[in-house]
């Protein structure tokens, strides 16, 4: 279980997170929604341990990662898989080498076993036979799938997705979402996804949390969030452009 309590973060004079409280249960798909620039990716970077909060804590199964450094933090991260917004594939390596990279660097598996695992993961994301290609030679959707394969190759317990469908066409968005659901069913990892794909994410999420101006304004099942009386949530779901009066916020 991931427990976020009282998380605050500011960059210079700009507050980005203003007291986040959120529990993510083991094995669920939690989707964090909210407007662009609202702090979703910053929250995710705190969960991964790439950013340190000004105040507040992030605990993974009781271990407070905000206090950890170096090897201790690495041991927690070994349980993670992360799919970055742009894929973050190493452009000096082939698709296969990208997927094999975490195993080569972190595991004691032999070359043949690594090769087998890489082929298996590429097959699971529908990219069999594409291993020899360079990331620059494949499409945006394929790059996302390679990133997903790389994040899952170490069989992590928790997988973070930072806007995994940004920049893709609607068909590819659904393809990636179905792929995530399928892989989640198969491997039962805890998934934390940052997205603003409305309404598609309601189909795949176990729970949805809405982040607005640095605080979580709504959290619950997709049905509960859809039915929320909070005008900010409704405005975001409907995609309305009129602003919510200050008195009605939160």
């Amino acid at each position: 279980m991931i427990r976020v309590q009282g998380l605050h973060k500011r960059f210079g004079s700009q507050p980005v997170l203003r007291g986040i409280d959120l529990d993510i249960a083991t094995g669920e798909i939690m989707v964090v929604i909210g407007r662009s620039g609202g702090g979703k990716s910053v929250l995710l970077k705190h969960l991964i341990g790439l950013l340190r909060p000004d105040a507040g804590t992030v605990a993974v199964d009781g271990t407070e990662i905000t206090r950890l450094r170096g090897g201790e933090l690495d041991r927690v991260r070994e349980r993670y898989g992360v799919v970055f917004q742009g894929g973050a594939l190493f452009d000096s390596m082939s698709v296969s080498d990208n997927v094999a990279f975490p195993l080569r660097e972190r595991s004691r598996l032999g070359a043949a076993e690594i090769r087998g695992r890489v082929e298996e993961k590429l097959e699971q994301v529908g990219l069999s036979g594409m291993g020899h290609k360079n990331p620059a030679e494949i499409s945006g959707g394929m790059r996302k799938r390679v990133a997903i394969a790389r994040s899952l190759v170490t069989e992590p317990e928790i997988v973070f997705f930072d806007e995994p469908t940004t920049g893709l066409d609607p068909i590819l968005v659904n393809t990636i979402h179905h792929l995530i659901v399928e892989l989640h069913r198969k491997f039962r990892f805890t998934a934390v996804m940052v997205s603003h794909e409305i309404p598609e994410i309601f189909e795949i999420a176990d729970r949805v949390a809405m982040l607005h101006e640095g605080v979580i304004v709504e959290v619950g099942s997709p049905e509960a969030v859809r039915a929320s009386a909070n005008p900010i949530v409704q405005q975001f779901i409907r995609g309305d452009i009129e602003t919510v009066p200050a008195g009605q916020r939160r």
Binding site: K45, I48, G49, L50, D74, R75, R77, E78, Y80, V82, F84, Q85, G86, A88, L89, F90, D91, F101, P102, E105, R106
Partner: protein, 268 residues
């Protein structure tokens, strides 16, 4: 951690002093970060696990890929030296000293300095750009979340590769340069080969060779240190990477010349 004073909060007459204080604090803070970056990189050179594969890759990146430019520039530097020194010495009737003059200029000074400047332009700028692009495309974050330390993976092997390759590249530059001087002095201007090399053996000592060697090693640290630091601290987007690359090349070139003067005045 320092925080710069904000001059606008000070009474008007004191604002220039506050601004100057802020500037000094910024510079000291930047130097501190720069020094800590180096200390961390050196720490990961000596603390296992070692990334031998990355070291070989960086030796190839910095050393092997710079070989052609080092040979080419070394040859022409030696040829220019041979021509100019010959013309100067001939005014005093001392052409016999062409060999030692070319060799000493190259071994003590021009070899390490020019080699380091050319390798900065070629491999140093590429190091900054590569790491900068890795930073803006979240590849460095990806390394971190895979529990791989980016300093250990990207910086330490580059610095160690610099220490290994720079003396070798400098030696190649020197040898090719001396042969370039030979080509001009002996083959074109008529000096005897025995005079060119014979006088060289008389005047070039082990301490001259060691001076060049220590300079090359120190430049082998400075170039990857500055270039990887600039890559790690580049700004956003393509413009940030471009600016970091320019700054890396300019700063490294200046540091090479300053450090060369310092070592030249300290070493025998």
């Amino acid at each position: 951690m320092f925080s710069s004073p904000t001059p606008e909060l000070w009474p008007a007459p004191l604002r220039p002093i506050a601004a100057l204080g802020g500037l000094v604090l910024d510079v000291v803070s930047a130097l501190g970060r720069f020094g800590r970056f180096f200390a961390q990189a050196v720490g990961y050179v000596v603390i296992p696990p070692f990334k031998f594969g990355r070291l070989i890759d960086r030796i190839h990146f910095i050393g092997f890929r710079s070989l052609i430019i080092v040979v080419l520039t070394g040859a022409f530097t030696g040829m220019v030296l041979g021509l100019q020194i010959f013309l100067t010495l001939s005014r005093f009737g001392s052409e016999a000293y062409l060999g030692p003059a070319v060799a000493l200029s190259l071994i003590r000074e021009l070899g390490p300095v020019l080699c380091a400047v050319f390798v900065t332009g070629l491999a140093g700028s590429a190091l900054t750009a590569e790491i900068g692009i890795m930073k803006i495309t979240e590849q460095i974050d990806a390394l971190q979340v895979m529990a791989l330390n980016p300093m250990r993976y990207l910086v330490s092997p580059a610095i160690l590769a610099g220490v290994i390759t720079f003396p070798l590249l400098t030696a190649i530059f020197d040898v090719v340069g001396i042969l370039g001087g030979y080509l001009v002095g002996v083959e074109l201007l008529g000096l005897s080969p025995g005079t060119y090399f014979g006088e060289m053996k008389t005047f070039v000592t082990m301490s001259d060779l060691m001076t060049g060697y220590w300079k090359a090693i120190s430049f082998g640290i400075i170039v990857p240190w500055v270039c990887t630091y600039k890559g790690f601290n580049c700004g956003h987007g393509a413009e940030g990477v471009a600016r970091a690359t320019t700054q890396a090349v300019v700063l490294t070139s200046i540091l090479i010349l300053v450090w060369d003067y310092f070592l030249g005045s300290v070493l025998p």
